[in-house]
């Protein structure tokens, strides 16, 4: 009992990939087994095309997995309603939001939709959670702004606020630092780190900012081609040269000491 309380997410013999047609399926990773516990900050690393987004989308039920099972707090994803899933995990995706009139407040408000009634009317609790979320990401001045007019960094903060307002134990982030300038990346990563350390969230993120991710992550999931999946402690994985093996690129190596990619 005690154990299942702490395990938020369990991947049980999970096979991910995509279907080309009804009979033709391409498996990217087979039989993944691992657990996500409370308070972890997991960075999902891997080269382009390794299947990071595919795994993330399979975990969310956006695309079907090709085999195995996914359990949230011991409950099978297949047997959960969309609404139930939405109360356990929230997301920040790379999808562009094209609407030109929605304000940041409207966007964050949709984070409260898994709760409450039919009508779009927000309750006092909803409003409190929303303004709290804006406060946590330090973006109170963006509340009334039109989302479409914001910079990429500001948009990312608002979307993070939406995930926070959704009030879920788990948050999945697909490349939260992409398209953001360097100080912006640090700001976002610090916010994410605070969510884990101060606000008890469990976070799984994909990123190409490997060096930055290593500073913050409490655990790594390495995803490579040809069915390669490995989880472990960032320090050990760096020291054992696993990062270097993951990103094979001619003339470039990952230096375990400086924790940076360098030219040979």
């Amino acid at each position: 009992m005690h154990n299942s309380d702490k395990v938020l997410l369990k991947l049980d013999n999970l096979t991910t990939g995509y279907s080309l047609s009804r009979s033709k399926k391409v498996a990217l990773h087979q039989n993944i087994n691992c657990k996500v516990g409370k308070g972890e900050l997991i960075a999902l690393l891997g080269p382009n095309g390794a299947g990071k987004s595919t795994l993330l989308k399979a975990l969310l039920g956006i695309i079907p997995s090709l085999g195995g099972n996914i359990y949230y707090k011991g409950e099978n994803l297949h047997e959960m309603s969309k609404k139930e899933i939405a109360t356990l995990v929230s997301v920040v995706l790379t999808d562009k939001i094209e609407d030109r009139y929605l304000t940041s407040y409207d966007i964050v408000g949709t984070g409260r939709y898994p709760y409450g009634s039919f009508s779009g009317k927000l309750t006092d609790i909803d409003k409190e959670k929303i303004s709290n979320a804006f406060r946590l990401v330090d973006a109170k001045e963006l509340i009334a702004r039109v989302f479409y007019s914001l910079s990429d960094g500001e948009k990312q903060k608002v979307l993070l606020a939406r995930a926070i307002a959704q009030d879920t134990p788990l948050i999945f982030l697909d490349e939260p630092t992409a398209f953001i300038d360097s100080p912006g990346k640090v700001i976002i990563m610090n916010l994410i780190n605070d969510l884990v350390l101060v606000h008890n969230k469990t976070i799984l993120l994909t990123t190409h900012d490997t060096e930055l991710a290593l500073e913050y992550a409490s655990k790594l999931w390495l995803l490579g081609k040809e069915n390669y999946f490995e989880e472990g402690n960032p320090k050990t994985m760096v020291e054992e040269g696993m990062i270097n093996k993951l990103f094979v690129r001619k003339g470039i190596v990952f230096n375990a000491k400086s924790r940076r990619f360098e030219k040979v």
């Binding site: 956006i62 309603s81 562009k96 609407d99 030109r100 929605l102 939709y113 779009g120």
Partner: protein
């Protein structure tokens, strides 16, 4: 430097505009629109090729006994059903347009693009044209039977295409693919209609083209009231879906992450809008541009995409615009009025162009 200042100034005024439109203006417009609708409704009843006094309009609508008999007949049998139909179909098509634009996150989605209107016209073509070819005379033999046959045919045609679209959307899931398939079905159906036209007699062709021009004046008072009640009932149902509609604005995957069953919701929205389009088209023929233009007008006036505001806004603006167009179509003062589609296109197309250009310059500012 100057450019920079200008830029700051424009973002500032933009910001002010945004603030100003908030709450106070929104509620003011929501008070003014119903007044405008009542005004346009009364004008539609008062104005026409035969002069009727305001007293007669008043007395007829209040069911007073003192009315001039001819005026009463003109109002109750012609102008009142026409006005109620225009109002109802305006509401129905506008809601349908809004739902489709939100479902497909595509500003150019509208009643005519999913092939639903085309399906309706195929139904009518089969009855009017094929009936003629096969020697069965639907039109002309009995006015009542002929009209009801057209209504049923149009409704069936629209619902058949609608069923195909819903089926496709449940299978495919990708909104843009569904949209493209809808457009292709539209072309396919139109080509069948074209072929039927080629083989039909000029008399039948005339009847079909007349239907295709669109008109609010083909309904009886009982029919118009039924259309009104059904339209309002369905429109009220959409209020239950404000949350998923808003969530769809962020795209399918975010909508899913807000806890909504995307494919199910997509089918529901297509079904509701398709039913509204089928209902309207059956009685009035295809009406152009209302469904496409009204949601854009509503978003521009209220500066929001939030369906809590947009749904009622679209209903009111749709009713007002359609009544306005119907009034304009009567203006020449001849016995017959202009085809309603000529008017709605003349009004609707420039509005859509204007809104799109304005939207572009705004986002570039």
């Amino acid at each position: 430097m100057i450019h920079n200042t200008l830029h700051k100034l424009s973002t500032f005024t933009h910001f002010c505009k945004n603030k100003m439109i908030s709450r106070k203006h929104t509620s003011l417009i929501f008070v003014l629109l119903p007044i405008l609708i009542v005004l346009l409704f009364l004008l539609n009843i008062w104005y026409g090729s035969i002069n009727i006094s305001w007293f007669d309009v008043w007395d007829t609508l209040l069911l007073n006994e003192t009315v001039n008999n001819t005026s009463e007949i003109i109002i109750l049998q012609y102008r009142l059903p026409q006005a109620i139909t225009a109002l109802s179909v305006g509401i129905g098509l506008s809601i349908a347009g809004l739902l489709l634009q939100t479902t497909f996150t595509n500003p150019l989605a509208g009643p005519s693009v999913l092939g639903i209107s085309a399906g309706a016209s195929l139904g009518v073509a089969l009855v009017v044209l094929l009936g003629g070819i096969g020697g069965i005379k639907f039109v002309g033999t009995s006015v009542l039977f002929g009209d009801m046959a057209i209504v049923l045919a149009s409704f069936t045609g629209a619902l058949v295409v609608l069923t195909i679209i819903v089926f496709v959307s449940r299978k495919v899931g990708n909104a843009v693919t569904v949209l493209i398939i809808g457009i292709m079905i539209g072309y396919l159906v139109s080509s069948v209609v074209g072929t039927l036209q080629f083989f039909s007699s000029s008399e039948d062709l005339h009847a079909f083209i007349l239907w295709g021009l669109g008109s609010f004046s083909k309904t009886t008072i009982a029919q118009s009231i039924s259309i009104f009640i059904v339209t309002i009932a369905i429109s009220l149902v959409t209020i239950l879906f404000i949350k998923p509609l808003n969530a769809f604005l962020l795209g399918n995957q975010y909508a899913l992450s807000s806890g909504f069953n995307i494919k199910l919701m997509q089918s529901v929205f297509i079904l509701i809008s398709g039913f509204l389009i089928a209902l309207g088209t059956a009685f009035t023929g295809p009406i152009a541009f209302i469904g496409l233009a009204v949601p854009h007008i509503a978003r521009t006036i209220f500066r929001t995409s939030n369906h809590t505001v947009l749904l009622p806004a679209v209903m009111l603006i749709g009713a007002a615009l359609t009544l306005g167009c119907n009034l304009v179509s009567k203006l020449p003062g001849y016995d017959a009025s202009l085809p309603i589609n000529a008017v709605t296109s003349m009004v609707g197309a420039p509005i859509v162009i204007w809104v799109i250009i304005k939207g572009r310059s705004m986002s570039n500012a």
